[in-house]
Symmetry: C2
Subunit: 707 residues, 2 copies
């Protein structure tokens, strides 16, 4: 991902952008409603919700501030056991949804990157933030953050603010992302902004490169960086991957891995971090053909889109099908549209609320000059709309940058079915004659002649034919020379071409895995009253796909028989590949349910007899009775998505009360029929005698009472 502007970098600077996007992207509507947005009740509510989520996440070790016993390091977090499992599940689904389904070429490149690679991509020169330093203490701050804080604070708290001053501050917020170092310096001076902690004076803003620098090898002469994104590892391998793909376009390569950005002063907890997992796709395609073979599959998908024009004119995001967006020219091309659709399906399938994900098009001034079109998948959470996936048509910029820097041609070709006849200009300087005439300057003249464009060459040819000689400007000598007829032959020849060579374009969907996971936490979190109503209990409504643990196993009471059954079930869960947690503490069953709800475990097995057990679903709290030998495969069916809970409910008797023989017999009969239909062509009534095996004679209390 090359750049000319800082903002053209992928999704980790954009968080700044999306924070300010409230101001930049909806200038009319938003600026006027700034105070409303910041109204105490609304932001307090969001803050309280976020705190509830964060408390649960930290208490249950979804994450841990890294090196906590040493006081922690800003912007570095560990995933604890459930967080780690959620992340592994999200990545596994990403692989299934993108790599496997699209037959992508996955690669795995190192984080340590030599300087030349990031010089070519533009990161060494341009991947910077503007920084100011406390002149006495040396503490560093991001210049735009200080200015933003000042403006927001004034607007919120200064009741005597004149209308003119307020408008001025709002304008600054709106253009914050576009301010140069000089403009930032001027504003900081104008407002008298000082260091927040000490009130000392600040230095002028200067660029700070956000890459972690290091040195490769012992000599100290090979500077390197920890990669700020994974994309470069794919670009430099284009030639190999193209060959691996049978020299065919389009194809996509993908990479999941760590990326590093040495943020000046990380804020916003889990959203702006110094090390994070990226999952990036580079879809290489012919710049003259950006259609997508599978576009029809997402054509009718309705997604919330926020095109550039709507942002500029103060309209809201609107629902539109991907097909319409492409055919109306809102989205630049089919392949870009295809990935917008696939990203939407990925996010919503994970559990992101479909009404709180939108695709926002970059404004013209947000995009790099070479980009054809860029869209961000933004997810709404308590911090606002957060960019979680960037989807950019980056044209041929990145591949060409590496070809130029390395001198290795990185091109694709299209073989013509029939050779095509083309007219080619042939310029043949006579080195002998030119040598005699220009001596040491011969080489420069030859190069200048060979570099002529078609028009210039044909004019020279005409002049030479008419006059026998002509004036010719040699730019490397910075003077005109006289070229004679015998010094160069210029002609047009017809040639047969068998193929077209070109630098491929790239469409790049780039996923910030940590941000997606954080938003997923917020979208999955809810509270509900405990049975006695005196407490709010936390629940994560993770789908089985995402849930860190699929199932818990509890013996109802501490007794050896039940514990053995629990262990037997645990073993069969392991065999079918279901992650579980066994809890043999004597804690009340209600408390144990509350604990697992807080981890988002979708199913709980309570061992309350030696022949059958209670299976409980987290959100509905419904409970059914299943045979000990069967329960692992039932949980497997549910977590694999083969059957929904509603279907399983039909198949087994409910637990809540002693079953009425008729009712349960009926549902049992229906379920048996369903099963049999799946297995054999005809069903019989032979199942009836097995009814006794179900052991529907155990405890009847509702187990959701907490303390």
């Amino acid at each position: 991902m090359g750049v000319l502007k800082r903002r053209a970098f992928s999704i980790w600077t954009p968080f700044r952008r999306s924070c300010t996007a409230v101001f930049t992207t909806k200038p009319q509507s938003t600026v006027s409603s700034l105070r409303a947005l910041c109204s105490v009740t609304e932001s307090q509510k969001k803050e309280a919700f976020r705190q509830a989520v964060l408390n649960t996440l930290e208490r249950r070790l979804f994450y841990i501030p890294s090196y906590k016993i040493y006081g922690g390091i800003a912007g570095l977090y560990d995933y604890g056991p459930p967080g780690c499992a959620v992340k592994a599940n999200v990545l596994a689904f990403w692989r299934q949804h993108f790599v496997l389904e699209e037959n992508m070429l996955e690669v795995d490149c190192p984080c340590v990157t030599p300087e030349i690679v990031l010089k070519a991509s533009g990161h060494v020169d341009k991947f910077t933030d503007l920084m100011v330093k406390d002149e006495k203490s040396g503490t560093c701050y991001r210049a735009d953050q200080l200015l933003k804080d000042y403006c927001k604070d004034k607007l919120e708290k200064d009741l005597n603010l004149s209308a003119e001053k307020a408008a001025n501050l709002r304008h600054v917020l709106a253009v914050l992302d576009d301010l140069s170092a000089e403009e930032l310096a001027a504003k900081i001076k104008e407002y008298g902004i000082t260091a927040p902690d000490t009130r000392n004076n600040l230095s002028d803003p200067y660029p700070f490169n956000l890459m972690f620098q290091t040195s490769i090898g012992p000599s100290g002469s090979s500077p390197g960086y920890m990669r700020p994104e994974t994309a470069q590892g794919i670009f430099v391998n284009f030639k190999e991957l193209y060959y691996y793909n049978g020299n065919k376009l389009p194809f996509a390569a993908a990479q999941i891995g760590q990326a590093f950005r040495n943020e000046i002063s990380p804020r916003q907890g889990l959203l702006r971090v110094r090390e994070f997992t990226l999952a990036e796709i580079e879809h290489f395609l012919d710049p003259e053909d950006k259609s997508h073979p599978k576009f029809s599959e997402i054509l009718n998908l309705e997604v919330l889109m926020f095109p550039r024009e709507d942002q500029m004119s103060g309209r809201s995001a609107r629902i539109i099908t991907v097909g319409e967006a492409v055919s109306q020219g809102i989205v630049n091309n089919e392949s870009l549209g295809y990935f917008i659709g696939r990203v939407y399906l990925f996010l919503t399938h994970l559990g992101i609320d479909k009404d709180r994900v939108r695709f926002r098009q970059h404004l013209v001034n947000e995009m790099a000059h070479y980009a054809a079109d860029c869209w961000d998948a933004e997810i709404e959470c308590s911090y606002g709309w957060i960019e979680c996936v960037g989807i950019a048509d980056r044209s041929a910029y990145d591949v060409r940058a590496h070809a130029d820097k390395s001198g290795v041609p990185l091109v694709a070709y299209e073989k013509y079915p029939e050779p095509r006849e083309v007219e080619k200009l042939v310029i043949a300087p006579s080195k002998k004659e030119l040598g005699l005439a220009f001596k040491g300057n011969q080489k420069m003249v030859v190069e200048a002649l060979e570099a002529m464009g078609e028009k210039e060459a044909m004019e020279l040819k005409a002049a030479l034919q008419a006059e026998g000689e002509a004036k010719f400007h040699v730019c490397t000598l910075d003077k005109e020379v006289i070229i004679k007829k015998d010094m160069v032959s210029i002609s047009k020849e017809k040639k047969k071409e068998h193929q077209r060579l070109f630098t491929p374009s790239v469409i790049e969907p780039s996923f910030g895995i940590g941000r997606i996971i954080y938003c997923l936490y917020e979208h999955s979190f809810y509270t509900r009253a405990s049975k006695d109503g005196d407490e709010q209990l936390n629940v994560f409504r993770f789908s089985p796909l995402v849930a860190p643990i699929k199932c818990t196993v509890f013996p109802l009471v501490q007794n050896q028989q039940y514990e053995e059954v629990a262990k037997k079930i645990a073993k069969s869960l392991t065999t079918v590949g279901i992650s579980y947690k066994i809890d043999i503490t004597g804690t009340s069953i209600g408390k144990r349910y509350a604990r697992t709800d807080e981890l988002g475990v979708p199913f709980a097995i309570t061992v309350d007899s030696t022949s059958s057990v209670t299976l409980r679903e987290r959100d509905s709290k419904q409970q059914i009775r299943v045979n000990v030998d069967e329960v692992a495969s039932v949980v497997k069916e549910l977590t694999d998505g083969v059957s929904k809970w509603a279907v399983i409910m039909l198949r087994y008797p409910t637990h809540s009360s002693r079953p009425s023989v008729t009712g349960d017999f009926l549902s049992y009969f229906i379920s048996v029929k369903l099963v049999k239909l799946l297995l054999v062509e005809y069903s019989t009534l032979v199942a009836i005698p097995q009814l006794n095996d179900l052991g529907m004679t155990t405890a009847t209390e509702d187990r959701d009472d907490v303390r």
Copy 2:
């Protein structure tokens, strides 16, 4: 993983060790057979085999030298698509085998690590290699490598070497790992070793820290490093993880992630790299109880073991059960033995040849002083026996080091069922009297008194009672002082204790994933003659578990009907989660098989009719006919390990010739019976009419002919 010696670090320095292990660990037998080992034919054979493997791996993009278009960087490699898939499969199985089956707590910590953490672990001070510099060019070399090269070269090539000189050189090789900087310097001087490329003089050896250094945050005042191992992230979280586990021991935490070592001059290709994936387990347990609840499961496992004593006395490694190894005291404890067994099962299940994996115990001088016992799982490949997994009982060293450095207590406790009465020594110095007597030295005297052991304290008490005063040595003052009776009270008191506090011990299995994968490549590689015998074809015999792609789909000839069937099958493979590669080129089917064999694809589906297809197994080259609608689920059955190929063979007609009705009917009948037995209790003959559906009427040529 703390250290006092460089060698006490985990598995990435040990490669050096295992390279020299040939010399250090079997002093008698090996040194005398050194020339034999290095004989041209043997090493040439190994070299040729390695080259064949490496050529195939690089040509088929299992790996790519990183940043190849820029000339590459020593010690950095990319995994290309098949390599990346193999790695993902190995890691998925690792998670299943260790994390899931053992209910481990997996965490995911950043690579960027602040200095204090690695100061505590010992890496900042001790994680070094001795380096020499070319005095003119500045090129750096590892001192021990140069010395080793010199000795080996002399022994191999100098035919006039005296017996005495040869013995001297062999001795140097044997003790290479133990040489200090001064000893290395002396040897380099003695032998007149110069820089290999320039013959310039070399500097004296000096330590070079192998960690990639960087700086966290913009101020430059927070040094950090890229972690050299993942273990520290677990240790610093002990308190949180112990709590998460319900304050119960034993439990294990695990982490998979990148680690970084800035090697001075990496050699040996994929085995010694500057960035690599580690998978580490820290099993926390009570130092007073190192039994393992699941030890009985691996008790009778026979593994090749190479205990310390056998190495020292020149014996060979021998097969022994893990149970015997523990009961005979060869392996220190049950938990260590349990992990040896589990590691063995992991490696052999992946496809590592069971006869070429051994567990080598560390010699006493290889272990850190605090370690209770260490074993390396070494795998034999063309480079010799390579350490791929280290399994160490590291006692309480690491946890204690972080507790000391951070000041946060990192302890576990054992609650007694009944409170226990214990006699406790109570030393109460009188600060007032001591202050009057010792003024500014008071603090040192107080501390020295409090630090007394029981014996010393009781002796002092007796002396004070008898004489009224006594001499007392204060080590921090380095002198004796006179202590009077009123300056300290010493007594023994009976106290009730409800629990025992202790620092947990740690058993650490640490897996070098890249090394395991490389050895797996070598163990899986073989060649076989092409059908016409004029070429050797490469095959990787990967198990379905490991294979990068499970299945290929080929239309036999280029035709739209077959291509559509191929796409239909591809779609159903995706649905059941099987990775496949579709090849619709017009290449001969034999060539296409050869291509997929080289990628280690276990199964190939050739579309040669619209109703049924040919399914071919890679190693046996056997082919059967399966219905189009059925083939994805058959491949799924095979790759999930639910059925073996031999069983599937019974169920379907073979492809090689038109089936004789009787033979195939028989095998079909048997297979139907098997299936039915799985599904329902009784089988019928209703299947006969379906025989026609199998479409066994297509092409009969053998498809393994290559060109």
